[in-house]
Symmetry: C2
Subunit: 482 residues, 2 copies
């Protein structure tokens, strides 16, 4: 029951059972806990803080590009879903319904929002009258609910946290530009901040957002070779404008429909960064979102460790003041070795060891979580050395993830080839596709892989469809996905 | 339909109809809009940004005092509410219920959280095993729902945004200390940041939180003399620990129940700051939370205004770089006078006027939204002068609000006296109270005023109950309240 006991429990090795490894790690590192409500998790402080760092940085980037936040109701009247045909078909099976409130049955039942296109479309119709009111560039940070049959913490939960941007524009060109701009922000953020390489591309029609004209995604590869859709950006055309009557008086004094977009990322990103970077010792957290970036641990013979105290406090204060998220674990009843394991399991990017001899020499030791590299650094240069190592850890994490992805990226020409790959090694497979839904479905039925996207930058352009052998219209990446 | 037309519409004067004034102002200033769901509003960007500034600063203060954020599910199983008797009685009438989800009827219906004591209590019971796990200091930023019969934008809406802190402690003394510490943080924040003077005190038993041992509040006075409870902090004793089995192994190796607290403020604060500071020309926003702190407007003869452009851009950049939230309105087809009215209505704390003659003299003009004071300042000292005026505006807003509250604070000795006051002038009335619920209810029935709190710092100690004439146990402030 004591904490100490809890941490020596083994983590299932990734090779043995990746799913068990994942659950072991997020539970032990106290990122989450299961709640008593089906499919809903509790974000514990270390899990939630990762989200806070993601949120702060994305929010900064959204505002820098002219977006503002707003907040729309959690409840959506049933009739709203009927207005856009594809949208209702896509989301209806997953909705939870409020049917009673305040002791009475409701006249019209209310869905808990799975996404807010309908509610926001309704409001935009009131706010947008003239081309002078455009563009409208609004984002919302909110909880949404999709009643999922199979759930997995962070990656697929009934309730999750996300941001949803919703914009309205005068022209198609402007709306398409916005769609791509936000996709680019997602890619930059996920690579620069979470150290996850991603593949940008367009979704096939069967995989696009319910109600969109075109959906674009960034796709990341987990360490078991499966894909996660890490962010999406949709060009809606005038589908929602027609459904919700978002009309404006144009420059030629005629009524026109606005062109809208939406785009979002969610707490799935937390699951993704764990599955991309973690190893058999536990979490490996990207430095920019790690709740603790540096853990300070006094070392050396127990009876001498006290001598380190005062100087260690000074160094701690110096690091903290420079904006580094540092923690000190100077508990005397717990051994340094046990602490090393604990904070490795928790994924702290840099360990700072300091012992009585280091003290005399004016140095201390930095250890990288990702490579295990040790650096003896001068105490007088500690802040810059720590910053440098945090930066190096980020780079190395990104490089390793990129290498892993490249090593598990295959080009295939037949369904048999893909099937064999999916069973043996997993990964992303590039293949030609004729554009028919029948062939796409055949791939899924035979291999378990779904089309991830049609990459913007493909190494290769395939000539024939891997299923029917007809001319390929697109070169598509298929993978099993979370 | 054009924006210009919209703003010249009159605002109902406060004296004529305070409620209509309030709605006129928040709609015209585009802080909110009504949604198609009963009692739920849309927070438009300027309204939501006020909340963002409130949130950022409170969050900073919570973290500084050792609290961390987490996130718990939106849904609460019906059985959870049954566990704490007072709690269920207090909240049951206001709950919305999810009865269907994913196309099926639920086995146990789920409430949308009105507050999270029950869910969090359930989780704390899992996490807290030993006195070494204490204290647990967690806060949550979330949406909550209470299905209200009568609603008012920001002040009482079915869905609202808030933070709820939930802490667990080893001893009663420590939990009580936390309760008071958070009440103090609320008071400081509301006074220092929103320029609203508040009265700290303890709630009478009939007005305390459902399930609490003691509830404390800060109460603010609106410009119509009515009260708003601007924040509350509760000492729960072991009520929720017993109900949810939050037990831990104490220092004496015996099982003990944790002592818990909870504390919260909500988007009501937005409604409060509008009703405390606004005037017949519109909003008056406290500088620290105003989305736009300074509005720059080029003035002078239209044909000369262009000359101002380049220098105005430089000053704008200087202000922006120094962290001031500045906006420029240099639209040439709209007159300066119209702009003055517009940004006064929107409550922008400082207007910066700059004309061709000012340009020659190296000066510009700052105008205070609250007093109308004009200051001619040197352009070379603009940043510090703007900061000084923002600070002065804050101080003056606080002083005016304090003066208004003092002018509407009455001491009464009989129910007749209170009744007359409530009908003529409104305001806060200090009175003796014997402690019986019968007398408290009599006050409400006769005057419409409810007990706000038993102030910690009372000017006066009353000897007899204003209703029954028996010995007064407490000196209470009564007021009509939102």
């Amino acid at each position: 029951m004591s904490k100490q006991k809890q941490f020596v429990t083994e983590i299932t090795p990734q090779q043995e059972d990746f799913s068990r490894w994942y659950i072991d790690v997020i539970k032990k590192a106290e990122l989450m806990d299961y709640s008593p409500v089906r499919g809903c998790i509790v974000f514990r402080p270390d899990g939630y803080e990762i989200w806070e760092h993601i949120k702060d940085e994305l929010d900064r980037r959204f505002k820098e590009t002219g977006h503002r936040n707003a907040y729309f109701p959690l409840f959506i009247p049933e009739s709203f879903f009927q207005k856009e045909k594809e949208h209702v078909e896509g989301f209806n099976p997953e909705l939870p319904w409020v049917t009673e409130a305040g002791g009475e049955e409701l006249e019209e039942k209310l869905a808990i929002r799975p996404t807010s296109e309908t509610m926001i479309g309704h409001m935009y119709a009131k706010w947008i009258q003239s081309y002078r009111d455009l563009p409208v560039l609004i984002n919302q940070w909110a909880n949404v609910v999709r009643w999922e049959k199979r759930t997995l913490p962070f990656l697929r939960t009934s309730e999750f946290l996300w941001q949803e941007g919703h914009t309205a524009h005068e022209t198609e060109a402007e709306a398409r530009k916005e769609t791509m701009r936000m996709l680019a922000i997602y890619r930059e953020f996920v690579e620069d901040y979470l150290a996850i390489p991603v593949m940008k591309g367009q979704k096939t029609p069967s995989e696009k957002f319910a109600g969109a004209v075109d959906t674009y995604s960034i796709e990341a590869m987990m360490k078991d070779g499966r894909a996660v859709q890490a962010g999406t950006s949709h060009y809606m055309g005038t589908n929602f404008s027609v459904a919700f009557d978002i009309q404006f008086l144009g420059r030629e004094n005629e009524l026109e429909y606005a062109h809208t977009t939406s785009w979002g990322v969610s707490t799935r990103l937390i699951g993704s960064l764990i599955m991309v970077h973690g190893d058999d010792r536990g979490l490996v957290l990207p430095p920019k979102v790690a709740p603790t970036q540096v853990i300070m641990i006094p070392i050396g013979p127990a009876k001498l460790r006290d001598q380190v105290g005062g100087r260690a406090d000074e160094l701690f204060t110096e690091l903290k003041r420079s904006g580094i998220r540092v923690r000190m674990d100077d508990r005397s009843d717990i051994s340094p070795g046990w602490k090393f394991n604990e904070y490795e399991m928790r994924g702290v990017p840099v360990r700072l060891e300091i012992g009585p001899r280091d003290m005399e020499n004016g140095v201390c030791v930095l250890v990288s979580r990702v490579s295990g590299e040790k650096r003896i650094v001068e105490q007088s240069k500690l802040v810059e050395e720590v910053k440098r190592m945090l930066e190096d850890v980020h780079q190395e994490m990104y490089e390793r993830a990129r290498q892993f992805r490249d090593d598990h990226f295959y080009s295939v020409d037949s369904i048999e080839e893909m099937k064999a790959l999916m069973e043996e090694k997993r990964g992303f497979t590039l293949a030609g596709w004729c554009g028919s839904e029948v062939c796409e479905k055949h791939v899924k039925d035979e291999t378990g892989a779904t089309s991830r996207n049609i990459p913007f930058a493909s190494q290769e352009s395939k000539k024939t469809c891997l299923v029917c052998g007809e001319e390929a219209k697109h070169t598509v990446v298929f993978a099993r996905a979370y």
